[in-house]
């Protein structure tokens, strides 16, 4: 219980500092909006089968915009020189990592909700009847993305060329998550039975658990100097 | 006949890649040797100048 309260303190600190400037969340949302517009232009108005390409576009936008927020998780701490202060918190490195995962997750989720609403308008989709399964898929996908993203954010904070190396690290590792999430979203949008999504969901859950476990075992090594 | 061409290009590209890698290793070793040489010649100089007075 105390662990959760401590964890929440760090999350709340990040949320507050973001609320003061709103710099990151605004740029993430604007960026995703722009990418969606670009996609609409690039695909033209007469797309044959919208339902087959929609999941792909959605997840590409999520990952590209999510990547903008990732670098901030540890990059900002290091820029302001507050990282050593954060590490002095009476919380294990794993706790600090988890707090950052929760923070990244919240920011990414806000961006995703925004993107999804724009998406529904632009591509004229009716998501209401399938909101629950889609929400579950997005939840699992975003959790995995935040888990590895936060880990790599801490890694790239220790490098010279932060953003470039972050995307090079994140993209190949997210491939299984992306495939499973797109496949699951596609199945749901095609109106198939929820049972058909189980294989994809299994991969998403396995992805989340494996990377949270690896982070649990190795995060100490990443922040030690 | 085209099969031979593919076969030939497959093998030659493989060997070219391997030789480029070996060559890069040799080059890295050369540069290290030059560095060692520099350090040892500098050290020698220092030793000589200290031996004089």
């Amino acid at each position: 219980m105390i662990f959760i309260r401590k964890l929440w303190a760090i999350v709340w600190k990040d949320l507050l500092s973001e609320l003061r400037t709103k710099e990151m969340i605004l740029s993430m949302c604007l960026f995703s909006f722009l990418v969606l517009i670009i996609f609409s232009f690039a695909l033209g108005t007469e797309v044959m089968d919208l339902k087959t390409i929609v999941p792909g576009i959605l997840w590409v936008v999520f990952i590209f915009s999510g990547l903008m927020g990732l670098g901030r998780a540890f990059g900002a701490e290091r820029d302001k020189g507050t990282l050593s202060g954060l590490l002095l918190c009476p919380l294990s490195p794993w706790g600090i990592y988890l707090a950052k995962v929760v923070g990244t997750f919240i920011f990414t989720a806000i961006m995703e909700i925004f993107t999804l609403s724009i998406f529904i308008i632009l591509f004229n989709l009716n998501l209401l009847p399938v909101l629950l399964p889609i929400g579950l898929i997005i939840f699992l996908g975003t959790l995995g993305f935040s888990a590895i993203g936060t880990l790599f954010s801490a890694m790239s904070a220790a490098t010279k060329s932060r953003d470039t190396i972050l995307s090079i690290l994140v993209f190949p590792i997210t491939v299984p998550m992306l495939i499973a999430a797109v496949k699951a979203t596609e199945t749901i949008l095609a109106g198939k039975a929820v049972a058909e999504v189980y294989p994809s969901l299994k991969i998403l859950i396995a992805f989340d658990l494996i990377y949270l476990l690896i982070a649990y075992l190795t995060f100490t090594f990443i922040i030690e100097e | 006949m085209t099969g031979t061409l593919y076969l030939f290009s497959g093998f030659s590209i493989t060997w070219i890649i391997l030789f480029i890698y070996l060559f890069s290793m040799v080059k890295r070793q050369k540069s290290l040797e030059i560095q060692i040489e520099k350090i040892s010649s500098k050290l020698e100089k220092v030793q000589n100048s200290q031996a004089l007075p």
Partner: protein, 228 residues
């Protein structure tokens, strides 16, 4: 002294085996009936793929041992193995399409094995890049963690791609090569030759890396003494 003789013998054996392998591939092994002469790329492609995976596996193990023991030796092994692995993986990714084009009439297909290899290649290139840009005092730790993450990604990528592939038309069902006995022996011989070649490459790369580290240490000490 005996160590030196052993090393020379090792290299001579590697060299001779390599020649024997080339002889076996081009002269001893029969030409496959359905694919024709191009099937001989098989003897290059399969051992290279096996060695690339083993190299990445060595990186994975050495990374774990490094984090456990904190001995720089293991970091060097992980690094050198990753580099040699990327080399062999590049060979696999180039010979693969050259073999596929005349046989399947496509350069590339999103088969789970092919795609997993491609992703693995990207991951270990990222590993090498990470080592290049990371701060020196954290290099070994971060790359060890990434070496572990990269290999843990292999099975999950494989399963995810297998899932994804089912909605696409299947171009290849199975490779369907009837391997005759001479082919089997040739493959075995090339396997041994490539394996020894890989070992000597890795050994020399590790030696070179140690030399580099030693030189840098000497240089640092030297500069420290003479700057004051």
């Amino acid at each position: 002294m005996t160590k030196r003789i052993f090393e020379i013998a090792f290299e001579v054996v590697t060299f001779l085996l390599m020649f024997a392998a080339i002889y076996a591939i081009f002269i001893y092994a029969p030409i496959e009936k359905t694919m024709g002469i191009v099937q001989k790329i098989f003897y290059l492609h399969v051992p290279a793929a096996f060695l690339a995976f083993s190299a990445f596996f060595i990186t994975f193990l050495a990374s774990i041992v490094y984090l456990y023991k904190k001995d720089q030796k293991w970091d060097v092994i992980a690094y050198c193995s990753a580099e040699v692995g990327v080399l062999f993986c590049t060979i696999v990714l180039i010979t693969g399409p050259i073999w596929a084009k005349p046989v399947w009439n496509v350069w590339w297909t999103w088969d789970p094995r092919l795609t997993t290899t491609l992703i693995l290649w990207f991951i270990y290139l990222a590993y090498l890049m990470l080592r290049g840009v990371v701060r020196e005092n954290q290099r070994a730790n971060l790359s060890a963690v990434f070496g572990i993450i990269g290999f843990a990604n292999v099975p999950i990528t494989f399963f995810a791609i297998r899932l994804w592939r089912t909605i696409h038309p299947v171009i290849i069902t199975s490779e369907g090569i009837n391997i005759s006995k001479p082919m089997k022996y040739t493959l075995l011989l090339t396997f041994c030759a490539f394996f020894l070649f890989f070992l000597s490459l890795l050994k020399n790369r590790i030696k070179l890396e140690r030399l580099k580290i030693n030189t840098e240490n000497v240089k640092a000490v030297y500069e420290e003494i003479f700057s004051s």
